[in-house]
């Protein structure tokens, strides 16, 4: 008892708890918005309000959308998807630390907790994705923007969201382990994520800004900005939904997305598993 199981047994154990992960995740998502008048509607309103702020500030006031025609679609896609990543990191970080009680009273593979956290975020994400697509379509009718056609490519959106889900699960695993062992790091996450948001072109095309750097710095910074995971996922999502020259569909980017998703998930899972027997001691 209280000894870490072998990796393969652990994986099997986690899979056998899939129903628990699903039910725990959806229930958490539902319970979160139970205590106010608008209830589940807040799951939609929250990201919309969030996106509105960024569209107003960065899209209209600062006009930071260099080389992007449809800045509303650009920002909305960025904000909605980044929110999923951001919340997965935060949720994953707290999934063990805040559930010490549960860990101390029931016996189950602890990987269930970060996984169900991300599942819970995914269930709230799915309806907001519909809203996101609607906003993207409407943005094509606003001002000088060209209408955005609905193409067959839109069907690829669930694929990139699925990859993003795997990626986020991996992130949540890593954060869960780190914060469970060193609770202090929870306070740093906020700043790191803020940095990640501005550094990965969530609300303005950061790669365009990088072109203004001196040649030497550009050679280092540009590939990092382009191929870092958040940038890759956002690029692919935008290339699917927006028909713009700045985001041509790219098979290479899809490969990067798959790579990041798989690598992060596997590494995260192993990192988490190696701490399995320590969770709940403190």
């Amino acid at each position: 008892m209280g000894v870490r199981p072998p990796l393969l047994d652990y994986v099997r154990d986690v899979f056998s708890r899939w129903a628990f992960i699903r039910v725990l995740g959806t229930s958490t998502a539902y319970a979160k918005n139970q205590n106010n008048y608008l209830g589940q509607l807040w799951a939609l309103l929250n990201p919309i309000l969030n996106a509105t702020v960024y569209v107003l500030v960065f899209g209209i006031l600062l006009d930071a959308s260099r080389g992007v025609d449809n800045s509303i679609a650009f920002i909305v896609i960025g904000v909605f998807l980044f929110r999923f990543i951001d919340q997965s990191v935060h949720g994953g970080a707290q999934s063990i630390a805040k559930k010490t009680n549960l860990i101390r009273s029931l016996h189950f593979p602890r990987a269930v907790l970060p996984m169900s956290q991300v599942v819970s975020l995914l269930t709230t994400l799915v309806p907001t994705l519909v809203v996101m697509c609607a906003i993207v379509l409407l943005s094509g009718l606003v001002g000088s923007n060209e209408p955005i056609p609905v193409t067959w490519e839109w069907l690829l959106l669930p694929c990139i969201v699925a990859l993003l889900w795997l990626f986020n699960t991996g992130l949540a695993f890593i954060m869960a382990r780190i914060v469970a062992i060193t609770p202090d790091l929870d306070n740093i996450i906020n700043f790191v994520m803020r940095f990640a948001m501005y550094g990965s072109g969530v609300i303005f095309p950061v790669t365009k800004y990088a072109e203004e750097l001196p040649q030497a710095a550009q050679a280092i910074v540009e590939p990092i900005l382009e191929y870092q995971p958040i940038g890759v996922f956002l690029y692919v999502a935008r290339s699917i939904l927006m028909q713009e020259e700045s985001f041509p569909p790219s098979g290479e980017m899809w490969l990067w997305a798959v790579g990041w998703a798989v690598v992060t998930l596997v590494v995260g899972f192993i990192v988490f598993w190696r701490g399995e027997e320590r969770y709940g001691r403190d």
């Binding site: 539902y30 205590n35 549960l102 029931l106 016996h107």
Partner: protein, 345 residues
Amino acid sequence: MTEADLDLDVDLEGEFEPEDLQGPKPVAHVGPPVLVVDDLHIVYRVFGGKARAAAKSGAANVRAAKVEKPSFVKRLLSSGSGHVGAVSEVHAVRGISFVARHGEAIGIVGVNGSGKSTLLRAVAGLIPPASGSVYVDGEPALLGVNAALMPQLTGERNIMIGGLALGMTPQEVDERFDEVVEFADIGDFVYLPMKTYSSGMAARLRFAISSAARPEILMIDEALATGDAAFKARSKARIDEVRKNAGTVFLVSHSIATIEAMCTRVLWVHQGQLVMDGPADEVAEAYKEFVRAHRRANTSARAGGVGPRARSKRRNREVAEAKTGDATPSDGQATDAADAKPTAE
């Protein structure tokens, strides 16, 4: 560490050997061993507060932390450390060994903070041991399902969550749904959010969910305190049923009456160590005697105050009491205390 704490511990340990020597008298259908606990130690890491210094000199459970007289410089350095990076260790369970067999109902008694719940959780494999080991034949289930439940959601949803948390499949939960509702006796309230339940109803539902999983080893931590007489009778029936199916039941409770009624064997834990292990009535009797003595000691100490600041005064008094053989249920501790004193410094 003071002499009072120390001699209390030492002579408790000295007097009662683990059950292997004493030999529990099997009462009903006792089978082969199902659970072996071997020299178990549990150490908690505790974050926050100035607790460190106070805890070091205070409760005996924190003995693991090194006690030293700080120099002036050290005191200066550590004056802020109570708030920055305050981590202390609590040695909650200190070397407990016992063997549980199929068909036993084992009660665990002890005063507050003696390590009962920690022991139970460690045996269930929920808190990793610092040293020593626990061997289990079968999957222990702690009746602690409430941690998984969500008060905002309906009882129906919570039965599903709880059941899955206990390792059942969705089909199994569906099959047992009616049985759970019936056992909890909550009727149509099952379709309302759990936060609308009375505390008795919530407790009944929790017990119903966790015992629905039919575990081989059922562990109950103070769960039966709430609930009316009819429910108590039903839970006793459920516990007996688990026992008849060659399962093992652990029950932690402050109510010595509950323990006596439901258990065949009792472990008495004090300050993280096993004091006594044997048939329910014998241990219960000794424990009651101890509690009475403890109460007397506390009443007389209250004159000097029982707060942490006044504790040292009280401790001196307790030493005096212990020397007259009043505070502990054993004798001969004066020599033990004398032996132990040097090790404390």
